[in-house]
Symmetry: C2
Subunit: 208 residues, 2 copies
DNA sequence: CGAAACCAACCAAACAGTTGGATGTCAATT
DNA sequence: AATTGACATCCAACTGTTTGGTTGGTTTCG
C-alpha cells in the first residue's frame, strides 16, 4: 500500500462525489463540498481524477456497474424482472438521478464507454428473447427498452408519480401497490405484443 | 402598449430561457447567454422575472401548459393516445428535458403550483377510465402513469434507447417502428391488466 | 533519502445580481 | 399642436462572491 492510504481516499471521494452529483448534477455539484464530505483536501480530487468532469464520469461508471451487478438478467417471469428493477430503484434513489444527469449531459452524443455498455444491453436482449422464446431482434430490443422504462419511470419522475397517483406512492403500501400494478402491466404487455418467433439456428441479429 | 415594447422583450426572454435551460438546466444555465440569445440586456431578466430561478419557473410553466394544450385527453384508442404522446415528444425535444431538470431540481418536494396541476392529471385519469369503462380509482391512475412513462421514456433516456435498440432509433424509419411497438405494448398492457369495473353512480375516487 | 500523498493558501475567471443614467411613451396642460 | 412631466423600458458598466483549478511546501512511509 502506498504512503497514507491512497485507495481509501479515492473511495471516499467517489462516495462523496456520488452523493453530491446525484443531488446537484455536474453543473450544480461543488468540488469544495465533495472534498468536505469526503473529509479530504480538495486538491486530492485533482490528484486522483484530474477534473470535475472526470470525477463525474468515474462516479457514473461505478454506479452503473454496481447497478448492473445488482440486477439479474431477465428470466422466465418477465413481469417479476421488471419488479426487481423497480425494487432496485426503490432501494437506491441516487441511481436514477445519476443516470438522468448523465442523459441530460450527453444529450444524444455517444457516451465515451459506448461499446462495452451496448454489449451489456445486447446480453439482456438475448436473455429476454430466450426466456420469451422469440428472436433477439430489434423488436425484442424495443420490448426491453419499454420494460426498463416501466420499472424506472416512477423514480425518474417522482413528482409526476405523486401528482398522478397521489401521495400514496410515498408510503410502503402505495409503493407496493404500484409495483404490483407495473408488474401486471409489464406481463400483460409482453404477453399481448407480437414478437418474431424463434427460429432454430436463428440470429438475424436486429442491429441492421 | 407600454414604452418600448415590454411584452415582446418578455417573450424573447422566455424563449431564450427555454432553449438555455433545456440544454443546461438551471444550475448550468447562464443569464448572460440567455440575455444574449434574446438580444436584450441582462438586467431585463431581473426587471421582468426577478431572479434566475423565477425565470426558470416561468419557462416551465409556459412549457407545461403548452404541452398540455398540444395533447388530447386519452380517448377510445388508448394505444394511439400513447402514440400521440410519443409524437409530441418527438416533435419537441426540449419538453422532456425541461421536465427532467424540474424533476431533478424538486426531487420529491411538492411543486409550487401543485394544486392546479394535480387537477390536470385527475381529469386525464377520468378520461382514461371513461374510455376504458372502468372506475377512475388509483388503479386507473397507476395505469395512466405507466402509459405516460412508456411514451416518454425513449426521449427521456435517448442514450439508453440508442444503446438498447441501436442507432436505428435516430432515423425516421426506426423512430416510426419504435412508436408502433410502443403503441402495441401500451394497448396490450391496458387490455391485459385488471381494473375495477365501472359502477353506475360510482366514484370511490382513489385519492384515499 | 526519495517518492508519493497530502494540505493551506492562493488565483484568475466566471457568475448572479445591481446601479445610475439615457431613452422612449403617453397623457395632461397650455 | 407643441411643451412638459411622470414613468416605464432599457442598457453599459460595475460589484462582491463563488468556483474550478493550482502551487509550494509538509508529512508519511518504504
Amino acid at each position: 500500500m502506498s504512503p497514507r492510504d491512497s485507495a481509501a481516499t479515492r473511495r471516499k471521494l467517489l462516495e462523496a462525489g456520488r452523493e453530491e452529483f446525484a443531488e446537484h448534477g455536474i453543473a450544480g455539484g461543488r468540488i469544495d463540498r465533495i472534498a468536505e464530505r469526503a473529509g479530504v483536501n480538495k486538491e486530492r480530487v485533482y490528484g486522483h481524477f484530474g477534473s470535475k468532469e472526470k470525477l463525474f464520469h468515474a462516479v457514473l461508471e461505478a454506479v452503473k456497474s454496481e447497478h448492473a451487478a445488482s440486477l439479474p438478467r431477465p428470466g422466465e417471469d418477465v413481469g417479476e424482472w421488471v419488479g426487481r428493477l423497480y425494487d432496485a430503484h426503490a432501494a437506491n434513489g441516487t441511481m436514477v438521478r445519476l443516470l438522468m444527469w448523465e442523459a441530460l449531459y450527453f444529450k444524444d452524443r455517444p457516451l465515451p464507454e459506448d461499446g462495452a455498455r451496448s454489449d451489456v444491453y445486447a446480453t439482456k436482449v438475448l436473455a429476454l428473447a430466450g426466456s420469451l422464446g422469440v428472436e433477439p431482434d430489434s423488436t425484442a430490443a424495443m420490448t426491453l427498452l419499454s420494460l426498463i422504462g416501466m420499472g424506472a419511470w416512477p423514480f425518474a419522475m417522482p413528482h409526476v408519480a405523486r401528482l398522478v397517483v397521489g401521495p400514496r406512492v410515498l408510503n410502503a403500501q402505495g409503493s407496493a401497490d404500484l409495483r404490483a400494478h407495473i408488474v401486471a402491466m409489464a406481463s400483460a404487455a409482453v404477453r399481448g405484443v407480437e414478437h418474431t418467433p424463434a427460429v432454430e439456428g436463428g440470429s438475424e441479429a436486429g442491429r441492421a
